[in-house]
Symmetry: D2
Subunit: 383 residues, 4 copies
């Protein structure tokens, strides 16, 4: 084992947000995972049921298209809420909210197959290189299991957003499965709860079942494209220069496991266009300017100069195929020898599916933070 001082990261990096600040902790196969939320305002109604409902959306085992691990992911609130006999229910007090999820599916299994070899596409090698030690059980801290803490914290952020900004909604959907895309003509976001993919196009959702069944049976995996959008966003959220709403969203979404690309509004298509086409025209409206609804609308994705315009805030996120596949992939052992790695087990054939509630949670965390940062009128009942 290396001397501890030889290898490390100097900066603490398990917190997200500035004023609504979340610190997550826990390894995939340790006793528990959880988070601490510091900076949540007092007086918010907060129940364990609300958090649980969000967590259930991300839970393993909900369909044959996600991992079959059995993790009930039951959350506990350990601090930061208070209720007395005169209250109308538990409320936040402005003190840190500690949430914990016990790990129950940590089978005492044989890890010798991954202990000394690096799974390609995973963080095994880089963690080992950086820290000289790693908890290899289920990927330890690098496991996507950490995103359960994000969803739990996101549920608190949603509660804040509902109270401060009731008209605001955030929704994510799977708009691409591998090379397959939804058809905008058939898209209806309210249908995305009706299928196991969070797909807003019912026809595509039907087709994707067959596609993913095939991939799953082949022991392979596939990438995905997620869109996440917020409506009812107040004008003026976000800060110029290094606190831009779009830059913060990019970091938030890119920090999700397996994310490889982020775009805002028309995104990469903007690079191809002309200034005279790629413009959100402005028009007189009842409460300040409105933006042109026609053409490739909302070119800028609801942000100008890093600050929200009041249009929908739109981002898309590319998720790579799950790296854990049954097919053999060349790799090396810890000792530097060649080895073929084949990852058995209960893996997601398309990790992008369970990424949908995580993307929603990250956008909620970014908006909650910026809503607390911003001071100004945001319309009726607002700030």
């Amino acid at each position: 084992m290396p001397r501890f001082e030889e290898k490390r990261e100097t900066m603490s990096h398990n917190s997200f947000g500035h004023l609504f600040r979340v610190t997550t902790w826990g390894e995939s196969h340790g006793p528990a995972i959880g988070c601490v939320i510091d900076g949540c305002p007092p007086g918010l109604p907060l129940t364990v049921e609300r958090i649980q409902a969000r967590l259930d959306q991300r839970r393993p085992g909900t369909s044959r298209f996600v991992t079959q691990r059995r993790e009930p992911d039951k959350v506990q609130i350990l601090s930061g809420v208070f209720e007395d006999d005169r209250s109308d229910g538990p409320r936040t007090t402005g003190t840190p909210i500690s949430l914990m999820i016990e790990n129950v599916d940590q089978r005492s299994k044989d890890y010798s197959s991954i202990r000394d070899r690096y799974r390609p596409g995973h963080a095994d090698y880089t963690y080992e290189a950086k820290y000289g030690i790693r908890d290899y059980r289920g990927g330890g801290r690098s496991s996507a299991r950490e995103t359960a803490s994000r969803v739990a914290a996101g549920a608190v952020a949603f509660t804040l957003l509902e109270a401060m900004c009731p008209q605001l909604t955030i929704e994510a959907a799977l708009i691409g499965l591998g090379p397959h895309r939804i058809d905008p003509a058939r898209t209806n976001w309210s249908t995305r709860h009706d299928n196991p993919f969070w797909c807003p196009d019912p026809v595509a959702a039907q087709e994707w079942e067959g596609v993913l069944d095939t991939i799953r049976k082949e022991g392979d995996s596939v990438g995905a494209l997620i869109e996440v959008r917020a409506s009812g966003v107040p004008v003026g959220l976000g800060a110029p220069i290094y606190g831009k709403m779009d830059a913060d969203l990019a970091a938030a979404l890119m920090s999700i496991n397996a994310a490889k690309g982020v775009e805002i509004g028309a995104g990469f298509a903007m690079a191809d266009g002309r200034g005279s086409d790629m413009v959100d025209t402005m028009h007189p409206g009842p409460d300040g300017p409105t933006f042109a609804p026609s053409g490739p609308d909302n070119i800028n994705g609801g942000v100008l100069g890093g600050i929200t315009t009041g249009q929908d805030l739109v981002a898309r996120l590319a998720i790579k195929p799950t790296s854990s596949i049954l097919k053999e992939v060349p790799s090396v052992t810890k000792d530097g020898d060649a080895v073929k790695v084949q990852t058995k087990g209960r893996h997601d054939p398309c990790v992008g599916i369970r990424g949908v509630p995580v993307a929603e949670a990250m956008m909620a965390l970014v908006l909650a933070d910026h809503l607390l940062r911003h001071r100004g009128q945001i319309g009726e009942g607002g700030l």
Copy 2:
């Protein structure tokens, strides 16, 4: 004028980086712009000439394809370096490095055309909505002129990188101008200094002259695609979870004016693929694992789990077309009336060109910060 407490951003947001921390200041048409770099280690050789050389790459007026404003952008070092008669030249002392660039082309012109109307695609409306007051001269703080401070700070970061990690190089290039792309078969990055576009494909560079001349004469503008890559990157830079190298890069690049999308490695193409194809295989190498050099190489762009693998670090950035165009665009006045906005003046027909040295600077700032954060062996002469 609104009461100051009614509208504001609570969080300071003009600093970038954690340990190598840069704070920029200054408006486009104020007396000066500049930055303070806090956290630069002592003992580094640092001359004003080195910083000036980087600034000159971003300077206006270097070709007919960039703005013709006359800004010599001469930088001064006001603190943080010291030389005595026994020194071999000025060296950093570990104290804050203050850099200043005086604004000389701030013509006392008539701003009445932009004072009370919002230029579409610009931050005029959002700044006004957020702050209730804005320095409208040349865009004030929202002007891309702020990126001169980034390039100056980036020059200090480059000096640090050269000293700590001499084998590391960072290069950016314009790989797309509007819908036109470079041809990989003709690409030679060493040629990118030979044309006004930072284009690594000499044939494309030749063709783009005609393309951009036409657009410029039409009073229109065009988007661009920038690639920025670092070679010789040590293994182990970056931190898991919320301090991921790719998430930090995404935020850094997305914070550049006009950026609308960022991808790492194969990026959005990853969403379309299968796990069995989209993999960087690992093989025994002389100093730890090597990654497969064939096929669509470096799928992951040099990062796994947020930590560098030792492969090239590769990112691409979509830049929207300059919003300032001669063509009339519908907009509104401050009072809410409809107006047609036409932006005369000396604007960049493709702001992506001058974005190339800015992208390099941002990657240098990210790597300098992570290099200072990381503790571990990075090979010969390293940390």
Copy 3:
């Protein structure tokens, strides 16, 4: 209940430290309290027993001079350490260390006496004024129970210090109980474990038993003076200007419940003196300068310009008398009526006693943070 957005603190404030960063959570009578330590290097040997041993020093009920509440304060490590069958024991992995202490003595008692009235000297009124809601059970978050989390985190910091800087020791002692002071001529710090006061003067410790018995029986309380010192401190820890070792220590110690004053080295006595007397003279030594050992030694308390000199680091801390006393004190109710408050229960007659291990923990946290911040040679086996 007020609308949540009307009253709050914007900034998260439950974290301490920059690189060795501790976030504490939990209320006195909630389900549990705990902390998350982010930034602890990997490879450190860390057992629950080591943390428990420190916690036991602060535990209630160890003598008749501290509160008789029955809190076993059993700590659990929920994340951040790993042991496999080839390890020599559990080691930190560089991921966040989550510690939890369940609250077992949260009697379901009647809180109506404190629910609607403000205890003078406590934070009841100010929490209510700031947040509009408070968990009044046992003081909630403002209870000194929070310091158990500090001691737990401090135990991890001690583990780090021992590994990185084995010659460094930190010890605190009670050097004053009310107006009574220790006699330097009788002082022997190794005896401070032999009495219930952490008093380094055995004769004074004997006398203080009678003093405190009297005060306790009168239902009154008394203030205290704590000295905390570190020996074997490397030269060069601490940062100039706003990161000064002495400023950080001052903030750390002043953040302890009931603290009202902090001094470094000769402290307030320095204000009275002349420059020609108040000086640590410097002399040639085997490993750099040594400082004069005679006279009122270590005038500067081991810090010059905010950076450690290698001398002992010495601070003293004034602790006010416990505000919870049996004597009646005029106060007001939540509704603004006059009331007499008398605090029954199991309170510390001198809260300074249990403050001693807390002061040690805070100095350990400050030094651990600065040790990780500093890069340089610190002598044998050092950085």
Copy 4:
């Protein structure tokens, strides 16, 4: 010269405050010093004259009791304010405010006497030990000249406080010169501007002239005691646990050059007392509770649980005697040889005098930051 990576501070440490964030830069004998203020709200009236007026209070050469260096300390505003022909004067815009003071008294003198030897009581040795390089001219960054930037930034904080909280005032005074103290019976704070000491006791001020003349002529120096207090402070400023108002004040004041002790309210006297005596009793008042005005009033100094009570906020600060004295003091050279150091030049015989406006500035910075952090009603015209 050492390799730069061998010795350094990892963490940037030249910024103060969280939301009202000040970064200072500059060396005593470099081209200029200055600061950047990030987070100042927009719409504040801010003129260079207001800042200059505060700076003039700290300026050298105002009496024979302070240093005779000739530094006019003329400040320039380089960014962050805007005025157009419809404005009623320059206003802040919410962007960073850059202030610069050129150094004009940087005589090209011979520094060989301090280049290679360490002045006892100064930071010469510790800077050298930490960084391996130092700008020895006039103390470089460790010089108290840096506090001019604090006073300039403090002037902006005062402007903010006046606008947000017009009833709030902050005043500091010298209440002790060496062993001499003011007599409370003669004290009138409005007289402190009438003498060169900022002494609120006119009789003492008269006596101190003779005392300090003697010390000055002997080539010696003397310590001082400063009191700084804020009146009209809103209830509810400050944050629990690690963001306590008193802890932040302690850090702010202890970061001033030559500070060795800080106390809040009755401070160290609290350690000596009984709980039944050391209490601020509470009584019904017109706008919430009032606190007992009799006895040793304001025992807690206006803070309970780290949050302001609405009472005056009171702190005292011990300043050590100027270390630069004409008398010879034993020291060592850079090469480790014994040497006698005698500091000639134009030094302050009591550096505490010029510390008075600095203490005011630091309290203004702390209160401005906490005022921006706090959200709640603060009375008429308030938040």
